[in-house]
């Protein structure tokens, strides 16, 4: 069966960049942490209450936070030792409580209670429970649905499992390290995820550049009905909404994710984690982390325990002037203070710590440079004509903030066919209703519009702020409505009471 290549309109192909992770790297280890910080919300899911108290002894793999009532997934102790205390850690949704554990140095971990020699014959419900207890269900953008409240969608809502084995960001985790040597485990993971979801069909979207892996994957899947499809490494193909459109040819409505149209998107590491949990009994206490970018003197891929301070993971590898970013350089988040205070950990949702060189030099007439290694959507630099050379990537904006001139680049690269420049214009004058009509909520926050902007306008930031503003307004409206209803009811109740009294009188 020949794998087909499918694509999508818009998007942007990031060619080779300086500081890219070279193929053929082996996975390195980082020093075993003496102290870990374990946020009680990692990956998808609400913050869970802690089940441990200060100075409690814990074993690696032990569940230290769990709440079956809220949409969440249990959190594990990644190392053995003693609970040293609690702290607050900045996470995407706001601050969350973290359990600090002083490690005793033992690398052993506690196996999950139930494992399966032959997952293909296992009961789907039990498999799902093991995935939940192993922490795997947090490894999807809206969680992996199970009957245990791990996702806002129920387990019946999934019709297709989509695996993203593609990386289109310049500093993403490459397939040849994470997938290449682990094809059997990966295939097993895909199979048992499919089974846990009730036997749904699965499609693997494989990076076009790794087409050499396709025959091996197909033979590993032979007879399972798992399809392997080649997809182009065009950003942001690995995004939930885009991959669903690419692999299923089904449009994802604005403001929805793949799960809303019955497609669950997971990445390679999630499949490997599923295999590790169900077959080897290992909960998600370890992650492979890609250390790529121009901020490293040497790029690497390392295996680190969850909760290891970011600073410790990158120790000794950074160049002097650099910024540290969790996950991709396009839509990732800045590590606070560059992780300087050692209180900022990697979590089970971290796949990379990208470091970019912080260029503060002020070259003379820099904008007139021929630009042999400048990356640009336009072709105003020599790099547009003379291939191939690794492109430069640093944090300098390389230009001043200017008014929008409607050049149209943002609309050209938008994978959702939006008009970011127009949305920005509408939001700047508070034309909220019009912006909503112009599909403001179609934005999937990939950051390409900000990337290509000639006038250096932070379009994505403005759009995200606009969305939040509207959501808050809606919530305020609803609260107002509820308050009015409550008041009305109270008034009616007192009136009824008074009437009752009147009758009695």
């Amino acid at each position: 069966m020949a794998a087909r290549t499918r694509t999508f309109p818009g998007g942007y192909v990031f060619k080779l960049f300086k500081g890219a992770i070279e193929p053929g790297l082996t996975v390195g280890d980082v020093a075993f942490p003496s102290r870990v910080i374990v946020p009680l919300s990692q990956g998808f899911g609400a913050e869970v209450p802690s089940l441990v108290k200060e100075s409690d002894p814990v074993v690696a793999g032990q569940i230290i936070g769990r709440d079956d009532e809220t949409v969440s997934t249990p959190v594990h102790a990644p190392v053995s030792g003693r609970v040293a205390g609690f702290s607050k850690v900045a996470r995407p949704g706001g601050e969350v409580t973290a359990v600090e554990i002083a490690a005793d140095g033992s690398r052993e971990w506690q196996r999950l209670e139930r494992t399966y020699g032959d997952p293909a014959a296992a009961d789907p419900k039990q498999l799902a429970e093991t995935l939940y207890l192993g922490g795997v269900t947090a490894l999807a953008s809206k969680g992996i649905p199970t009957h245990l409240n791990s996702s806002p969608v129920g387990p019946d809502g999934v019709e297709t499992l989509l695996v993203s084995a593609v990386h289109s960001e310049p500093y993403a985790m490459p397939n040849d390290v994470v997938l290449g040597p682990n094809v059997a485990a990966f295939a097993s993971g895909v199979r048992l995820l499919g089974r846990a979801l009730g036997g749904v069909r699965a499609i693997v979207g494989l990076d076009e550049r790794d087409a050499a892996l396709a025959p091996e994957l197909e033979s590993a899947f032979s007879g399972d009905g798992v399809e392997v499809v080649l997809v182009p490494a065009k950003f942001p193909v690995e995004y939930d909404e885009v991959l669903t459109e690419v692999l299923l040819r089904r449009a994802v409505p604005d403001g929805k994710t793949g799960l809303d149209v019955g497609a669950l998107v997971v990445d390679v590491q999630a499949c490997l984690a599923a295999h590790a949990a169900c077959v080897e009994g290992q909960p998600v206490i370890e992650r492979l982390i890609a250390l790529g970018g121009t901020g490293y003197s040497e790029t690497a891929i390392v295996r680190a325990r969850v909760g290891t301070p970011a600073r410790q993971v990158v120790e000794g590898r950074l160049v002097e002037a650099s910024v540290l970013i969790e996950n991709g350089a396009l839509a990732g988040r800045l590590v606070p203070d560059g992780g300087a205070d050692e209180a900022w950990p990697v979590t089970r949702a971290t796949w990379g710590l990208t470091a970019l060189y912080e260029d503060t030099s002020r070259p003379l007439m820099g904008w007139m440079a021929p630009g042999f290694d400048f990356d640009s959507t336009s072709r105003v630099y020599a790099s547009g004509y003379i291939p191939p050379k690794a492109r430069r990537a640093d944090t300098n904006l390389s230009g001043e903030l200017r008014p929008c001139i409607q050049c149209g680049y943002c609309a050209e690269v938008c994978p959702r066919d939006l008009l970011p420049f127009h949305l920005d214009r509408l939001l700047s004058v508070d034309a909220i209703d019009e912006a909503e009509e112009m599909r403001l909520f179609g934005c999937i926050e990939c950051g390409l519009c900000s990337y290509v902007c000639v006038s250096k306008i932070p379009l994505m930031t403005h759009i995200i702020a606009g969305k939040r503003h509207i959501i808050e307004e809606h919530e305020a409206e609803r609260a107002e409505l509820l308050k009015k209803q409550a008041e009305e009811e109270a008034r009616r109740a007192t009136e009824a009471k008074r009437e009752g009294q009147g009758d009695a009188a």
Partner: protein
């Protein structure tokens, strides 16, 4: 270079403290930003950015206009450079004045307007007409709407329309000056300040002094007879029109050089190829169809494209992103409107050229076109948030 940077930095420091000089900081900042890249770094995603910036973007347009500008000097002498200098000087000063009042940075959009406007003028235009025109274009065409990015007319064309209407005598000189290259050969205008003496301005030699468009119109409108044949001979061939050795404005005559510059813009992805293609094809097709239908006032397709400001307008004026529509579909409509309107105006109205009015007309409708396209586009895919 460090010396220069330190010099500017020290000046900035001083100006900031001086009450008298502080308002003029935008000027100094503009010089600073022009010379040295800012050390501003991304603090929000995406953490690295496309290397393009507005200065490079605008400068590419100026570079694309260079062949036509050099040709203008060759055809008409060094006076052309003076006119461009005057345009930059007065337009730039206006721009700085506005940024000082607004307390904003000076915008680079003027780099293009400053050279585009004089290129639409005949080489004999008095310098004060250029100065007045460019100030009018910057103020009325751009700044009163709120500055760069908010104007809905192309400022260079607003300026051109202004001088066209207010100074018809001074700008009619297009028909008077013969391009040097046609008569002298190398080094042509490079050896002259201007190609004719000022007295020649007064001598209007009826037939031979017409631009290609005017010559054709005179012939088409004339009564049949021996006079008509004479007029026909005055119509230039396509070859000199293609090369540019015909009468006309400084930068508009040489179709081949404008084509070269325009293609550079398309290859660089700065100008919208949709607008260019729509303008060229619709104009040629409309004119050609009317011509084929027996209407002699309409020129054959190639003549239409090569005559007057059609090339300059299609490649450099219509593609101004601010005043053109932003959606792809609207860009097609916009180009077609320009083509049809330009051909109509230049063929049957009293004006010789139609490109300027056609583009200004399309500018008026471009927000409406965008609006219509967005309406139809988003009716299909409703918000489901």
């Amino acid at each position: 270079m460090k010396f220069l940077r330190r010099f500017i930095e020290r000046r900035q420091e001083k100006w900031r403290q001086s009450r008298l000089l502080k308002p003029w900081l935008p000027l100094l900042d503009a010089v600073d930003a022009f010379l040295f890249r800012r050390a501003e770094n991304a603090r929000e995603a995406p953490f690295f950015r496309d290397r393009i910036e507005i200065k490079r973007y605008m400068m590419m347009v100026v570079i694309a206009l260079m062949p036509a500008t050099v040709a203008a000097v060759y055809f008409w002498g060094w006076r052309c450079v003076l006119l461009i200098f005057v345009s930059y000087l007065f337009g730039g000063a206006t721009e700085v004045l506005f940024s000082v009042v607004r307390k904003e940075e000076v915008n680079e959009g003027f780099l293009v307007t400053g050279i585009l406007f004089p290129l639409t003028l005949p080489a004999a235009t008095p310098w004060w007409v250029v100065a007045l025109g460019v100030v009018f274009g910057v103020v009325i065409g751009k700044e009163i709407f709120g500055g760069t990015g908010k104007n809905f007319f192309n400022p260079a064309l607003v300026a051109r329309a202004f001088v066209y209407i207010c100074f018809p005598v001074q700008t009619a000189a297009a028909g008077v000056w013969e391009p040097n290259a046609a008569t002298e050969g190398w080094p042509g205008g490079f050896a002259h300040w201007s190609s004719v003496s000022v007295e020649a301005n007064a001598v209007v030699d009826g037939v031979s002094s017409a631009t290609p468009l005017a010559a054709r119109k005179q012939w088409a409108k004339a009564e049949a007879g021996p006079g008509k044949n004479e007029l026909k001979e005055a119509i230039p061939d396509l070859k000199p029109m293609f090369l540019g050795t015909v009468r006309g404005s400084m930068g508009e005559t040489s179709a081949v050089l404008l084509l070269a510059g325009g293609l550079l813009l398309v290859v660089c992805r700065i100008a919208s190829w949709r607008i260019i293609l729509a303008t060229l094809v619709s104009g040629a097709a409309f004119s050609g169809a009317m011509h084929a239908a027996g209407l002699r006032l309409f020129a054959p397709p190639l003549y239409t494209l090569l005559a007057g400001g059609y090339m300059l307008g299609a490649f450099f004026m219509a593609t101004d992103p601010v005043s053109a529509p932003g959606t792809k579909q609207a860009q097609w409509i916009y180009g077609i409107l320009i083509g049809v309107a330009a051909v109509t105006i230049r063929s049957i109205s009293g004006y010789a050229g139609g490109m300027m009015f056609a583009i200004l007309l399309a500018n008026v409708f471009s927000p409406l076109m965008d609006y219509m396209v967005m309406r139809t586009r988003y009716r299909r895919r409703r918000v489901l948030a």
